[in-house]
């Protein structure tokens, strides 16, 4: 048989994801964070972790882990106490063993009263305490290094997106072969230029390794009147420009049945993803359209 026709499930952004990494099992970390607090992480199993701030009692969680390079890990887990509630909360880390640095992000649903599915996020940088070694002064930092980068991401055998990182607060997305400026919203949302600018953050982990993060917010605001309900995801990409791939995770909510379904139900989403980078093929109108969300 042509294995192209293997009866696989329908994949979206998670076909080219790398497998969950378990090699941190048995490791214990003490993160000295720049907010003045300490965070402790104990990888007690292949999927289980124990965490706590300062002297608070440890709590259990199930984690997912991916590698951005040989010594840099993306770790994400939801807090058990919020899992079946509206106001879900996630703790997200980039653990950088080469430089002994850590980036922490707390992601939370439900903090915006007008858009209750919106995911808010707050970053804290820090360093990894290693007995007998001085704490590094260096930190992962917000960066402008990525500005100007235009890249194509292959997510599965049929899904390609193209990103342009054009300002330090937004990114722009499209697909190959898009015809822009179509007013008929029956066409795909990514064609609705310049509506696809979205809030983004850019963090430098090390040369050629960056954490790119976006929140699905503005497109949702624009579309939810005709395609309710409003929902949102926080997507974090650990992008390796040495090897030209990224690994990541998305946390938030999706419409039951997918974006184009008629359902108005919202279901939780927290999955791994990954994609391979490629040369971009971008139209002038895409690159030069004004960002409607910034002065």
């Amino acid at each position: 048989m042509n294995l192209k026709n293997y009866p696989r499930r329908k994949y979206a952004i998670d076909q080219f994801t790398q497998p969950h990494v378990t090699e941190l099992e048995g490791e214990k970390f003490h993160f000295v964070m720049d907010n003045g607090q300490d965070y402790y992480l104990d990888f007690t199993g292949e999927e289980s972790v124990e965490w706590h701030w300062d002297d608070y009692a440890p709590k259990q969680a199930s984690y997912m882990c991916l590698k951005g390079d040989d010594t840099t890990y993306l770790v994400s887990f939801e807090l058990d106490e919020f899992i079946d509630k509206h106001d879900r909360e996630e703790h997200f880390f980039i653990i950088d063993l080469e430089q002994r640095l850590v980036t922490f992000c707390r992601c939370k649903v439900g903090e915006n009263p007008k858009f209750p599915w919106l995911v808010s996020s707050k970053y804290i940088f820090g360093a990894i305490e290693v007995p007998g070694m001085p704490l590094p002064l260096k930190r992962h930092v917000f960066t402008t290094d990525m500005l100007g980068t235009r890249v194509q991401w292959h997510w599965n055998t049929g899904m390609i997106t193209q990103h342009s990182y054009f300002t330090s607060s937004f990114y722009r997305i499209t697909m190959p072969g898009a015809t822009y400026g179509i007013k008929d919203r029956g066409e795909h949302m990514f064609q609705d230029i310049p509506a696809t600018d979205e809030i983004a953050q850019y963090i430098k982990i090390k040369d050629n390794l960056y954490l790119f993060s976006l929140v699905e917010e503005y497109m949702e605001r624009k579309l939810y009147d005709r395609n309710p309900p409003y929902r949102s995801n926080d997507m974090k990409f650990l992008q390796n420009y040495d090897r030209m791939y990224h690994v990541g995770r998305t946390f938030g909510n999706v419409k039951e049945g997918g974006f184009e379904s008629d359902s108005t139900n919202v279901v939780p989403c927290h999955i791994r993803f990954g994609a391979f980078g490629y040369k971009p093929d971008l139209d002038e109108i895409f690159l030069n359209s004004k960002n409607p969300y910034a002065p």
Partner: protein, 249 residues
């Protein structure tokens, strides 16, 4: 090859994706995986035993002989490992390890001694499973190998960018944990292509669910190169699947 962009004064606007060409066919190679470190396996086929010990993240022993190793993970408990010049598929889902010694064509199909083997689990010849499969594996930006499996023993191989050169080569396919297959192709590489013309053998562990591969490329007696790739159907127009958005997962 990438779309370089300059501002109105002619100053180059940096683009990190322009760095994506430096490693040739090993460009997309996944990060090394260290989950096998400090693990030791005795494997048997019922008559012979081998012992593979992964001492740390880089050093291993095969029957007491030291070698450096690198491991790539394709599925939750499935690894392709280069042990010096040897190769192994370590399948901890089924507690099976297939060992391939140097350039030998015969494999050692081992079961891990003392571990429970699920009923019916085996690494076995894949028969005609691959026949009619037509897929290209992108190993780097614009660098791919295109496989058309003509029959149980022959695969047509084309290496970018020289796809006019069609090499019909012998292959052997092994079912690891279907749809994960091990594909072993013997033969040379065409001139003017992205693979060295000293190519001798390619061993690819392929996941036909996630459509990704990790592999070993043997060239001219050098240490095999480890590669990673994603699948593209060359007989299909490249398109964006409009029904696929993040929300579908």
């Amino acid at each position: 090859m990438f779309n370089y962009t300059y501002d109105k004064n002619g100053v180059y606007i940096g683009n990190l994706s322009n760095k994506g060409e430096k490693y040739g066919i090993t460009q997309y190679r996944f990060s090394h995986n260290y989950e096998l470190a400090k693990k030791s396996f005795t494997i048997t086929d019922g008559t012979t035993e081998h012992v593979i010990t992964f001492e740390d993240k880089r050093k291993a022993f095969v029957d007491g002989r030291e070698c450096e190793y690198e491991s790539l993970k394709l599925q939750v408990k499935t690894y392709l490992v280069r042990l010096g010049y040897d190769a192994a598929v370590v399948d901890l889902q089924q507690n099976l390890i297939t060992l391939i010694r140097g350039l030998e064509k015969d494999y050692f199909y081992g079961r891990i001694v003392g571990a429970e083997i699920p009923e019916g689990a085996a690494h076995v010849d894949a028969g005609d499973t691959m026949v009619e499969t037509n897929v290209a594996w992108y190993l780097g930006c614009d660098r791919f190998v295109w496989h058309e499996f003509l029959d149980e023993k022959t695969v047509r191989v084309k290496w970018s960018p020289n796809t006019s050169s069609k090499n019909d080569l012998p292959y052997k396919a092994t079912k690891i944990n279907y749809p994960i297959l091990l594909v072993d192709i013997w033969g040379y590489g065409p001139f003017y292509s992205d693979v060295p013309s000293t190519l001798e053998r390619c061993i690819f562990l392929q996941d036909y669910d996630h459509m990704m591969t990790v592999g070993l490329v043997y060239c001219g007696g050098e240490l095999p190169m480890m590669v990673t790739g994603f699948a593209k159907y060359m007989d299909e127009e490249e398109a964006f699947d409009k029904s696929s958005v993040a929300g579908d997962s």
